[in-house]
């Protein structure tokens, strides 16, 4: 029986068209790439990420502007005053001594139940933090991974519980237990970074776990490499140097400070603002998303057209 009027045809097509439309919407939302929300505790001290690449803003492309940058007050000023300007773009700060006491209080109230009052950790509960350095602590706390949501799965990034000063206070106190040891808190200046070098370095060292687009993926033994879409340059360098969890540790003999700066610039300026000139990014995971769209939307819509043109038996 053939649909004798367009109204009839529309009625017949309504259900399958709604199905295709729903799949399309779900697919576009599930796979839409780009930063979901800006990290509100950004610690970038550099300028806003520069748009790069082709032409001016295009319809449909996403131009991200970061939220208000809360500049780190005294540590930077103090560091700038005490250490010479570093052409590599990274220099490591000593946190002010005034941070240590409040840091101890915060640690006692929030962290000592698992890590112990002296941060030595408890077997099978929490690791020993002594010797890891302020930068390591800063990474885990500023990404919200600590305090831990669940002990049975890998720690996930979530909105951090502490603000920037509090985070640094905790880090300062842990550092004070073993002065000079471990990863320091870096101050990263990405304005002079070499994006092309960052691209090459990222591809060789990072893409095998985090994927070439920084989307992250599942690893063995229940672990996973997280997405890099919310990382700040500081967090990138801290992760490179401290090797959190299953991530390898890249010391200065492996990835120099200049190279670490280039990688962090590449992550925050290119990966987090991907050039999606081609349209909707479909999640940045390549053919999986593309296959869904091509089959369900492409072939799906054309099958709907067949439904319209032709008869049912």
């Amino acid at each position: 029986m053939t649909a004798r009027t367009p109204r009839r045809a529309a009625a017949r097509l309504a259900a399958p068209a709604a199905l295709v439309g729903a799949v399309a919407l779900v697919g576009l939302f599930a796979f839409s790439s780009g930063p979901a929300q800006a990290d509100t505790t950004t610690t970038t001290t550099g300028p806003t990420p520069t748009p790069y690449g082709v032409g001016s803003a295009q319809p449909g492309s996403v131009q991200q502007t970061p939220t208000a940058v809360t500049a780190v007050p005294s540590p930077t000023a103090a560091a700038a005053a005490t250490s010479p300007a570093n052409e590599t773009g990274i220099h490591y700060t000593d946190l002010p001594a005034s941070f240590i006491a409040p840091g101890q209080a915060l640690f006692a109230a929030n962290c000592s139940s698992c890590h112990g009052n002296d941060a030595r950790g408890k077997t099978n509960v929490a690791p020993n933090l002594q010797g890891l350095g302020a930068g390591t602590v800063d990474f885990w706390v500023s990404t919200g991974r600590m305090p831990l949501a669940s002990t049975s799965t890998q720690a996930t990034r979530k909105p951090p519980r502490f603000n920037r000063i509090q985070t640094l206070e905790i880090a300062a106190w842990v550092q004070s237990l073993t002065p000079g040891e471990g990863t320091q808190v870096p101050v990263v200046r990405t304005s002079t970074a070499d994006l092309e070098a960052g691209n090459t370095l990222f591809t060789l060292n990072c893409a095998a776990c985090h994927t070439i687009s920084g989307a992250g993926d599942a690893l063995a033994e229940g672990a996973y490499a997280p997405s890099l879409h919310l990382a700040t340059p500081t967090q990138v360098v801290e992760a490179i140097r401290s090797g959190p969890g299953n991530m390898p540790r890249f010391g200065a003999g492996n990835i120099t400070n200049t190279e670490a700066r280039d990688i962090s610039a590449y992550v925050t300026e290119v990966l987090q603002h991907p050039n999606n000139s081609g349209g909707v990014g479909l999640g940045g995971i390549g053919p999986v998303g593309e296959g869904f769209v091509g089959l369900l939307i492409g072939v799906g819509i054309l099958m709907l057209v067949c439904f319209w043109i032709g008869d049912r038996t």
């Binding site: 053939t2 004798r4 009027t5 367009p6 032409g55 295009q58 319809p59 449909g60 492309s61 060789l204 893409a207 095998a208 776990c209 690893l219 063995a220 033994e221 672990a223 090797g243 969890g245 299953n246 991530m247 390898p248 540790r249 890249f250 010391g251 003999g253 492996n254 000139s277 081609g278 349209g279 057209v305 319209w308 043109i309």
Partner: protein, 321 residues
């Protein structure tokens, strides 16, 4: 395509024949809708020309071109479906295979005259058949053999890596360098560090790619890091181990190192190798461990290979013993 309808057809159909009527209840309105659709299509194409002229983004190009195509398409389909004679029409299927007489005549032509030659000129036919086969072979050979070099047949034929699946450029004393050519010193990696290295002079060469991992911070006088594979402890040095980065499954670079679990995971098909035990595959389709490269440190702190691989690297192949 011969259809056995009569040459001139039957009596003429009258215009009020129901089969010639359009499907639409209101043909005039439908025609207007189809025309509107096609006009939208026209606007789309004009829009595309404008968009192209001003070099707007591909979204605009696609929107205009797509609207143009869809507009035209919907209009033409509506015309065909709702406005053209609705039918239905029928045509007969006539046997398109030949009649028995035609078949026997055809078969006779093949077997009769052909059979005559087959019985009379058997030898000639045989010689031609063999000749034709040889001709085919001869013509195919350049298209296959000229394409590339022969692979080396065994480990004895140690040619350059271009023609040998058995050898790499790693020799005893080869300097470990990064892909950029920077020599690797024993202090370069921290515990849990990982680096892709090549023999000096062969940076970037696929069969030579090696992944260097530091499992422990050990000094030159410390006892060596124990590797749980017989005899392999001496193949590492000061907590370092080195393995071929070519996965033994399908040749992907095994670049994914999990520091806590000390496993190498191949990103392609998730084979998992135990770095502590000579990269024995623990899970996944990889059949063999990643070959280990024996390494050592020279007096200047430069890391060097202490020999070549003890087996062919990479995936399996027939000649691999």
């Amino acid at each position: 395509m011969s259809d056995h309808t009569s040459g001139t057809g039957g009596p003429p159909a009258t215009l009020d024949d129901p089969h010639l009527q359009p499907l639409a209840k209101n043909p005039k309105r439908m025609e207007a809708l189809a025309a509107l659709s096609m006009l939208v299509g026209m606007a789309g194409f004009v829009g595309f020309i404008v968009v192209y002229w001003v070099d707007a983004s591909n979204e605009w190009e696609a929107l205009t071109l797509g609207v143009g195509m869809l507009g035209l398409g919907v209009g033409v389909i509506a015309w065909g479906k709702y406005l053209m004679p609705q039918g239905p029409f029928v045509e007969e299927r006539h046997d398109f295979h030949s009649t028995d007489d035609e078949r026997s005549a055809f078969n006779a032509a093949v077997t009769g005259r052909g059979g005559l030659e087959v019985t009379r000129r058997k030898t000639l036919l045989g010689i031609f058949a063999v000749g034709g086969g040889l001709m085919t072979l001869a013509l195919l050979i350049p298209g296959v053999r000229s394409l590339g070099p022969k692979p080396a047949k065994s480990e004895d034929n140690q040619g350059p890596t271009d023609v040998s699946l058995f050898t790499t450029n790693w020799k005893k004393g080869s300097k470990l360098v990064t892909v950029g050519g920077r020599p690797v010193q024993v202090d370069d990696l921290e515990v849990g560090g990982v680096l892709t290295v090549f023999p000096q002079g062969f940076e970037g060469s696929s069969p030579d790619q090696v992944i260097l991992i530091r499992l422990a911070q050990l000094g030159p006088n410390d006892p060596p890091y124990p590797i749980a594979a017989p005899g392999r402890t001496e193949w590492g040095v000061q907590g370092y181990v080195a393995y071929s980065k070519l996965c033994t499954h399908l040749g992907c670079p095994v670049g994914l190192y999990q520091e806590k679990t000390q496993q190498l995971v191949c990103p392609c098909h998730q084979s998992i190798f135990d770095v502590n035990a000579g990269c024995i595959p623990q899970f996944g389709p990889a059949p063999r461990p990643l070959p280990q490269l024996p390494i050592t440190v020279d007096p200047t702190g430069q890391m060097r290979a202490n020999g070549s691989f003890d087996q062919a690297v990479g995936p399996g192949f027939w000649e691999r013993p």
